[in-house]
């Protein structure tokens, strides 16, 4: 649980029950978001990012967010919209290149960055979503990243203690969702989305297609509906960050 999040969310935002998870308007879906919250945002680069939710959030009056996401979008797309609207106070990410507006705000000191190894970031979210407090990992031992972290030796090998990470709100993107919040992702658009969905007090999923209960095979569900509080149908606009194609037929 995020510290203080019960007070923030408990009174004003009741988790939606199974019958009413579907929200038709992005503004309605985002009405639970308050200034200063920690947001977990799915996606890797521009792949699997909740575009409609981010574009709408950039237009709302709330801000001062702490964002956890593998990257920080690019100029003019994804989290880049929240940067341009000066809504980010801090970002926890593994890689923040490809974004001039981010660089500018970092130099100005108006945004804080907390760099975390990618696998550690994924596992911190997974632990947060699984009710764990912390875990030990070999990643980063012997580097400046390990400064001020507890080291413990298991079977002769040193490991770093890493804390679980949770957020107030998760914004995730899936290809298909059903009315009870079950989600299926497509290709490499899965990435951090299932982890973010599990690690927040309140999870909003944006889906390209919304189907009725019973339309999804239980065996094919990636994120069970219990982790999803609100579901928004929005085809969105998928963007390619680096288009690569085969030059010519290779034989």
């Amino acid at each position: 649980m995020v510290e203080g999040s019960k007070q923030v969310l408990g009174e004003q935002v009741r988790r939606r029950d199974r019958a009413s998870k579907v929200v038709s308007d992005p503004r309605e879906a985002l009405s639970v978001v308050q200034s200063g919250m920690r947001l977990l945002v799915g996606g890797f680069g521009l792949c699997g990012v909740p575009e409609t939710l981010l574009a709408t959030l950039a237009e709302l009056s709330v801000g001062d967010f702490e964002v956890v996401s593998n990257n920080c979008g690019v100029d003019g797309f994804g989290l880049g919209w929240l940067l341009e609207a000066h809504k980010l106070r801090q970002i926890t990410a593994s890689y923040v290149g490809e974004n001039r507006e981010f660089e500018r705000q970092l130099l100005l000191g108006s945004i804080d960055v907390c760099l975390t190894p990618q696998g550690t970031l994924a596992e911190r979210l997974r632990a947060g979503g699984a009710g764990l407090a912390a875990f030990y990992t070999p990643t980063g031992v012997g580097t400046s990243y390990a400064e001020n972290k507890e080291i413990r030796v298991f079977e002769g090998k040193p490991f770093l203690l890493e804390r679980a990470l949770r957020g107030h709100i998760a914004l995730v993107k899936a290809e298909v969702g059903d009315r009870s919040g079950n989600l299926i992702y497509r290709g490499t658009a899965r990435n951090f989305n299932p982890l973010c969905a599990m690690a927040a007090d309140y999870t909003i999923a944006e889906v390209e297609s919304l189907v009725d209960e019973g339309a999804l095979e239980p065996d094919s569900v990636h994120t069970p509906g219990i982790f999803v509080d609100a579901i928004l149908h929005s085809p969105g606009e998928k963007r390619i960050e680096r288009l690569k194609e085969q030059m010519a037929a290779v034989n």
Partner: protein, 213 residues
């Protein structure tokens, strides 16, 4: 001296048939062009794909299918997709046989620096620290010297480390070097270069077996 393509081709040669391999961004990405089908190599991309295929044919690129360098790609037959926690579970638990990565500096003790230069803009370590901590064998592909002509094969790294004592082999434009007992051991000399050139371009301890003389 080897070109970048020749470095990549040499790296592809040493992949054991049937192995699982992660390719870093930049020069290591070129290695995919030189892997032969009969090597049966499975490429892992840490954003969640095992079985990375070639770039898509013209007009068929799909925004939902990218590699860790954010380039559009395809999936081979037999591929699987998964979330980032599962991806790094494979990496940290030693399931990936080889990581081919770029570097700014490698030291004779196996230390690797490839993620930040103090005073310059910090972009982040991405998955590099996890890869070197968990992958069984780490092979570095890079130019032997910086643009300014300074050696990148050092006694000790001067830049912040990505991992301590993690590098097994370095392939540069001058040849192939194994890290052993705090030294760079020359295994192959690139065509068109000399032992003299390798000596002057290597700041860390260099060992050259008599067979090269």
């Amino acid at each position: 001296m080897w070109t970048r393509e020749q470095i990549a081709a040499r790296a592809a040669e040493e992949l054991t048939p049937g192995s699982y391999v992660n390719l870093g961004i930049g020069l290591p990405t070129l290695v995919a062009n030189f892997i032969r089908p009969n090597q049966r190599i499975t490429l892992q991309s840490e954003n969640g794909l095992l079985g990375v295929g070639p770039y898509p044919a013209r007009g068929t690129a799909d925004a939902d299918w990218i590699n860790a360098g954010k380039e559009t790609i395809t999936a081979n037959a037999g591929a699987s997709t998964f979330d980032s926690a599962t991806s790094f579970a494979m990496i940290r638990s030693g399931r990936i046989d080889v990581a081919l990565l770029g570097a700014m500096e490698v030291a004779a003790n196996g230390d690797l620096a490839n993620w930040m230069v103090p005073g310059k803009r910090v972009k982040g370590m991405g998955g590099a620290m996890d890869l070197v901590a968990g992958v069984r064998r780490v092979v570095i592909l890079m130019e032997h010297c910086t643009h300014a002509g300074e050696s990148k094969l050092l006694k000790r790294c001067t830049l912040p480390l990505t991992g301590q004592s993690v590098v097994d082999r370095v392939i540069t434009d001058l040849g192939v070097f194994d890290i052993e007992d705090d030294a760079f051991v020359l295994r192959e000399l690139a065509a068109g270069t000399t032992l003299e050139r390798v000596r002057e371009a290597t700041a860390g301890t260099l060992r050259i077996s008599p067979s090269f003389h």
